[in-house]
């Protein structure tokens, strides 16, 4: 069952990346997130599922759609330049751009992805199996074990995730709250402006 969901996820991810219409891609991404939420349910991560559904499939999609309304929803055929050679001057850059840039960046990116993938696959060699109750992560007496066995007495809530989130690791959660506030502040700073800044942009 999980396998099926995972396969579906890969399909949706590929589709989201490949579709040229950005509105469609966003919609697919929303579906992908929803499917993710389903997967989290199957993996007994109810809180994560809830959040993923609300954020990934909900707010994130809405934000993307409203941004797309402002920037246009068509993707061009030009390639990326993120992997440009560090020493390359602007001029050389311009010539490469004219020459088959899309294909070039695709090959470069594929190479990087292969390297990363190989490193990650190498990393799985000695990994404990998924679902191994005896894995170090699940048996650490001061961390996972402690949360499961003691949280009810020490903190109270039946939902262990809430105990850990709000109390044992409450400081992280405060940081997380600050992150979301920071994002709001940053977006405000970038988008809420009167005429002067806008005119400057459009020069």
């Amino acid at each position: 069952m999980t396998l099926l969901t995972l396969l579906l996820l890969v399909g949706l991810a590929v589709a989201a990346v490949r579709v040229r219409d950005l509105l469609a891609a966003t919609a697919i991404l929303g579906a992908y997130s929803l499917m993710m939420a389903v997967l989290w349910c199957q993996m007994n991560a109810l809180d994560v599922a809830f959040t993923e559904a609300a954020v990934g499939a909900g707010i994130s999609t809405v934000l993307m759609l409203s941004a797309l309304l402002r920037v246009g929803a068509k993707e061009g055929r030009r390639g990326s330049h993120i992997l440009r050679h560090p020493l390359m001057t602007m001029q050389e850059l311009a010539t490469t751009m004219r020459r088959n840039e899309a294909r070039r960046s695709a090959w470069g990116s594929a190479l990087v992805c292969l390297l990363v993938g190989a490193a990650l696959l190498y990393g799985t060699i000695d990994m404990p199996r998924v679902g191994d109750a005896e894995s170090p992560a699940n048996t650490h007496t001061k961390v996972a074990e402690h949360y499961i066995t003691k949280s009810h007495d020490e903190v109270g809530p039946a939902n262990i995730v809430t105990s850990v989130l709000g109390d044992y690791r409450g400081y992280d959660t405060m940081g997380e709250t600050c992150v979301i506030f920071t994002a709001a502040l940053c977006v405000l700073l970038l988008l809420r402006q009167t005429g002067t800044a806008r005119r400057r942009d459009e020069d």
Binding site: L3, L6, A13, A16, V17, L29, Y32, S33, M43, A45, L46, D47, V48, T51, V55, G56, L63, R70, V71, G72, E75, G76, R78, S80, H81, L83, M90, M97, E101, A102, S105, G108, A110, V112, C113, V116, L120, L121, T124, G131, A133, S135, A137, N138, I148, H152, N159, I160, V161, L165, R169, D172, T173, E176, I180, V187, L190, L191, D201, E202
Partner: protein, 130 residues
């Protein structure tokens, strides 16, 4: 060969997270459209979530909510990865929001959200100055 296959099968969660991650990474690196990169970034991040949640799985475990009974008797899932991923999801949406805001401003400033065109405009600017 058989070893490799059986290893991949037994770790198939990890294989899938790597696959998803590479799809996302590829989109971020290879796509020239700024929004597409953000989509790629989202896929990339969710792939990492999958990795984390997989770490905390216990075969036959139940959700880490004390409904089923005493923790000594019921195999509750490891709650820590869930907590970490809640934080990571929030971080993810924050980054998405900031990226989108930047894209909106870039569109306003450059009139395009294609990386190649932006760089060409920058280059023209640089030439105009010198």
């Amino acid at each position: 060969m058989l070893d490799v296959l059986s290893h991949l099968w037994s770790h198939y969660h990890y294989v899938f997270y790597i696959l998803l991650m590479l799809i996302g990474l590829y989109a971020v690196l290879a796509k020239g459209n700024l929004v597409k990169k953000v989509i790629g970034l989202n896929v990339l991040q969710t792939a990492v979530f999958l990795f984390y949640i997989s770490i905390g799985r216990k075969a036959g475990g139940t959700a880490p909510v004390l409904w089923e009974g005493k923790p000594e008797t019921v195999p509750y899932e490891n709650p820590l990865p869930h907590v970490l991923m809640l934080t990571a999801i929030v971080v993810g949406v924050s980054i998405t929001a900031v990226a989108l805001a930047l894209i909106i401003r870039i569109k306003r400033g450059y009139g395009t959200i294609e990386e190649g065109e932006i760089l060409a405009l920058d280059e023209a600017d640089a030439r105009g100055e010198s």
